[in-house]
């Protein structure tokens, strides 16, 4: 059943594509007599758009594929656009009545209800100050509505979310680097683990919070992470090796 489009898409996996590049479906002239056979269609992730029987690239980047039919463009970008269920690091900018306004780096500030914390009730308000860092998840994020954050999961547990950030350092990296860090088998993360123990909070919005045992180590890690964007894998390993030899 592999149609011509899938093979032409799969040929391009891992290649750089530009906006306007397109793939054309073969017209479905085969009619299946059995109901359970559905024509296969690719699932489009970020950077790809489907219109009629065409699939058009709308962002420059590398084409990625996840079996069976998911395709997306992996692009290096700095500006965050909120997406539902993503976890981000936000900065509380104001408190007004029942909600906090949180800056997540998008085009609009997100709102965070004071009840959306673990154990929070109307009487027992969470202790959140303006300027605090929160690790939170989007429950509402679409282009037409104000984004909404929560610091609890479906069962009311904090699950790592909430206010954090004593004695650490917040830095901004590209969204591509964040995705590489959060990937299940991340080579950057495994390189980092060999260096020295540290705490990392990674938000999908390109913000990373680091804390190691000393300020010096915190700064070393933050510098390393910021340089990862422009280094190839061998160059990065070389950097890490140099640091380890440096006798820290």
């Amino acid at each position: 059943l592999a149609s011509g489009m899938f093979s032409s898409l799969k040929e391009k996996i891992g290649e750089v594509l530009l906006p306007g590049d397109e793939f054309v479906f073969e017209s479905e002239d085969t009619i299946f007599l059995t109901d359970n056979v559905k024509p296969e269609r690719p699932v489009c992730g970020p950077g790809l758009r489907q219109s009629g029987n065409r699939l058009v690239v709308s962002k420059s980047g590398v084409l990625r594929h996840k079996p069976p039919h998911t395709f997306w463009m992996d692009s290096q970008q700095w500006r965050y656009v909120p997406a539902k269920a993503e976890t981000v690091i936000g900065i509380v900018t104001s408190k007004s009545g029942d909600i906090f306004k949180v800056d997540v780096g998008g085009s609009e500030q997100a709102s965070l209800s004071y009840l959306a914390f673990e154990g929070a009730t109307k009487r027992n308000r969470p202790n959140v100050q303006v300027g605090d860092l929160v690790f939170a998840q989007f429950t509402v994020a679409n282009k037409d509505m104000e984004p909404e954050l929560v610091c609890i999961d479906g069962s009311g547990r904090a699950n790592g979310m909430g206010v954090f950030g004593g004695g650490g350092l917040l830095l901004k990296v590209s969204l591509g680097l964040v995705r590489r860090l959060l990937a299940p088998q991340s080579d950057i993360r495994s390189d980092l683990e060999q260096l020295f123990p540290c705490e990392l909070v990674v938000g999908m919005n390109g913000r990373i919070w680091v804390r190691a045992s000393t300020i010096q180590q915190t700064l070393i890690i933050s510098n390393l992470l910021q340089s990862c964007d422009t280094l190839t894998a061998p160059q990065r390993r070389e950097q890490f090796r140099k640091l380890q030899k440096g006798g820290l």
Binding site: G14, V16, P19, G61, Q77, W78, R79, G106, E108
Partner: protein
Amino acid sequence: VSFLRRSKFEEGGMMEVSASNNVSLREFGCEQNLLSRPDGSASFVQGDTSVMAGVYGPAEVKVSKEIYDRATLEVLLQPKVGPAGVREQSQEQCVRETCEAALLLSLHPRSSLTLILQVLHDDGSLLSCCLNAACMALMDAGLSMSCLFCGVTCAIGADGDIIADPTAAQEKESRALMTFAIDSTERRVMMSSTKGSFSVQELQECVAVSQKASEKVFQFYRDSVRRRYSKNL
């Protein structure tokens, strides 16, 4: 003062024109992601003409400029010296309308996109260099676009010969000067800005020359983006 007109040349309705097979452009080059503060940046060099572009967005928008169903695009062109004048404003408008046609602005309603173009040196074909820098910067910012575009400037000399990508000296001697924005999918004219007098035949010839030249620029775009992503393929 240049005379602006937005037009669309349908392929079927086009007159048969013979473009010479080898259009010569000056050396061009580009660097992406060179500024740290903007969300996307690029510098584009054509011969001695050089433009730097920075893109901010999708960011928060002023209530007075908010559009309910799409992003507001603002283009600012900063000349090398002195404040921006009427000439810059008309060029800003050309770039803005081209970008608006290429970008998928409806994906980011009620937000603002700001494109800042800084002229570093003007040695002719400035508008086309601005367009190319703008396209590279928009791509660098990761904004969704339906297609890419490039700018090509053509000058018609006193004896009627067409020079693509003219220098300032060639522009000065020319009888007519025209800049086209060409899209990457169908090689159609998205924007045209013309100055001077010319015949319909000459206009068609210039369009054909620009379309020919755009192939080179689009191939260059592809190579340069490929180089950029070579680190994390």
